[in-house]
Subunit: 413 residues, 2 copies
């Protein structure tokens, strides 16, 4: 049984190997931020970089910036910083568009590699945009494709030789439940299916080894654990063995073999750059580029271990200090079975989270009754977790949340 | 014949009704910027807004920014500022994704409204990404669709009752040649075709009346005359009469009728919001939002008239002062036949443009032999145009460009 006093927490913080990473961030005073799984905060380097990009690069170089500052190379430069976080080679990733658009491109691309199969398999209750993208593809196929949406515990049974594509989210956005990525990829490939992993809720917080898993395709979010800023561009991964045959449907000039030849006929770029479509979003890419520098200083094994330590502490503290108040844990108590956030249900979850936020403890709420706490190892200390649970305990014991329950809903994941 | 001395130009600048708009911009010293048709510069308000968004909104509100600062409403708020520039209603536009992705969405959506027709008609030498998007759709259709790519002077003949979609760029990226938008839209509709206009090289510099033209669909670029920053989000227009039946293929949570209900089944938003897919790019949208404020202070008729005056002056000055040096005008001399930039061909165009840029006159080069000068009425003065032509004359007369001709290419449109 781990020691759980506030002093114990302070001792853990004092010897935290990531404490220098914490200094890269400056969170607002009075806030305990348990929502970095939804939107990461800016680092000092990110703030400085955005100012530099606007004032110096855009403001002074103007259009010359495409060459002078190699803006055109940003999708691949940023990708090279994400590659080691997910066990990929830099030439297997691009950074562009939104997660939704990248899901669309890669799902289309994967399905075209299995023209004789008609089933896309995914999980009921997957993140909505993942489900919606797949539903749109089935609709557009005019009967050629079927979407097989199964409960989590039925996915393995549903994985048969009709399946063209298994599309799953690595860590579930509500419960943090983690699919064993390597194992599922192997099982999919054993029946001849391809895999598309959504790493949005795991990249930057867990150790991920796409190469070791022989994963086919993956996408992920730039604004959660990667701290790239609200609505940051997304990353798209395609294993190099697929590059020769991979096509994606949104043919654009940035995915052309010679974008600046301005020729009339499309000819896809030879490698992963064929996943690009439009002009790179330079301001947003620059923010993400700078945000990723904090990862260069840390070992992902240390980051992932601390994430699970923080999750363990939060769960244990809530179980011991907030018992009997109607909170039900829906996240796994096994370290290897979860991502880096924790979810509880509570009948008045919405009012409860509002009361916490009003007291500076920022987590979030997901309809109908889920409260989530993100445990972000780069900038969160153990003492903060202890203090957050103390605030939760006070709110629960005083019933200060009941009157806050109205129908307004907190919004973005 | 207009008077063309430098003093005449100074007099025009002194009574320029847009001179207060010019003060919103602060271009670098020593630069005459004739490439705002490719990348507009930041205004002071844009610079301040980006800092505010990063420091105050993202840095302090963190995830609460989605509610507190209504980030989620940005695609529609920014759209409402673009609407009057193109003669649209605010509820007919969204701002999201890249121009390429929006072309893809709207072309798909339009084609689905004409299921019994198989032809997409466009112009040879259209901007590459426009051609590539359409080629990708034809490829994905597996034989259902044909792409009819015709020379400019054959487009009207090619517009028959097999055409589902006429997709044209309003002002041509090289020559600035302008399609008569209303007339072409009418002719297309007369044969039962739909229209998709790319306004990238005209929105913000010309008067555009999509409602008056009864245009069906349009897209445009945020980083050219709208000054939203490199790779800024694009706008997508769909006439409200199409909203009921319009579908686009990239189904995502932001295009859902209830994005925050987190339900498994997609149900498109009732209006133009169904064109949205992924999470809004907040930093980039905020920059564009601020950049558009300069348009609130000006009359687009005045902007468009000054644009054509600047174009007239540049053409006349080059014709009179740079004659006999191998420059061939490829832009129309008629005000109503062109956009807001001017193109000449020159056998050593690349070296010539490099020599101009080295002397602070920034235009751009398009392979194989085109030099372009953008005449942006919001921040360009007549005196600057005069001075730019004087630099051009000197370069041509001294032959200072010949040795600059190497194979490196300037890049982005």
């Amino acid at each position: 049984m781990m020691p759980l006093s506030r002093r114990d927490m302070a001792e853990r913080d004092a010897c935290d190997p990531l404490r220098t990473a914490r200094n890269a961030f400056s969170l607002p005073p009075g806030v305990i931020y348990l929502d970095g799984n939804s939107l990461g905060p800016p680092t000092g380097m990110t703030r400085a970089r955005i100012t530099h990009t606007v004032e110096h690069e855009w403001g002074r170089s103007l259009v010359r910036g495409w060459n002078v500052h190699d803006w055109i190379g940003l999708p691949q430069r940023v990708a090279a910083k994400i590659a080691p976080l997910i066990g990929a080679s830099p030439d297997e990733i691009v950074v562009a568009d939104s997660t939704t658009v990248n899901l669309f491109k890669l799902a289309c691309g994967a399905l075209a590699l299995r023209p004789d199969r008609r089933v896309i398999l995914t999980e009921a209750g997957n993140f909505p945009t993942d489900l919606y993208v797949l539903q749109g593809l089935v609709q557009a196929s005019a009967g050629r494709l079927d979407l097989r949406v199964l409960a989590r515990d039925k996915i393995l049974e549903g994985l048969d030789d009709q399946v063209a594509l298994l599309a799953l989210t690595h860590s579930h956005y509500k419960t943090a439940a983690l699919w064993p990525l390597t194992q599922l990829t192997q099982k999919a490939q054993a029946v001849g299916a391809l895999t598309l992993w959504d790493l949005s809720h795991s990249a930057g917080a867990l150790e991920i080894d796409l190469a070791g898993a022989r994963a086919d395709f993956a996408v992920g979010c730039g604004y959660k654990y990667l701290n790239g800023g609200p609505g940051a561009p997304s990353f798209a991964f395609a294993a190099s063995r697929h590059h020769g045959l991979l096509e994606q449907p949104i043919w654009g000039w940035m995915g052309h073999a010679e974008p600046f030849a301005f020729v009339d006929a499309f000819s896809p770029a030879p490698g992963v750059a064929r996943l690009l479509s439009g002009t790179p979003p330079v301001l947003a890419l620059s923010a993400l580029d700078a945000a990723l520098d904090v990862f260069a200083e840390v070992d992902m094994a240390v980051v992932a271990a601390k994430a699970q330590d923080l999750v363990d502490v939060l769960i244990r503290l809530i179980q011991t200090r907030c018992a009997g108040h109607g909170l039900t844990l829906t996240t796994s108590e096994r370290r290897e079975g979860r991502g880096s956030h924790v979810a509880f249900t509570h009948p008045q979850g919405y009012g409860l989270m509002r009361a916490l936020i009003a007291r500076g403890v920022i987590g979030d709420f997901r309809a109908p009754d889920v409260i989530r706490f993100g445990l972000t190892p780069l900038y969160l200390g153990f003492t903060e977790v202890w203090d957050a649970v103390e605030v939760l305990r006070e709110v629960l014991e005083t019933g200060a949340f009941a009157q806050d329950d109205d129908s307004t809903r907190q919004r973005v994941t």
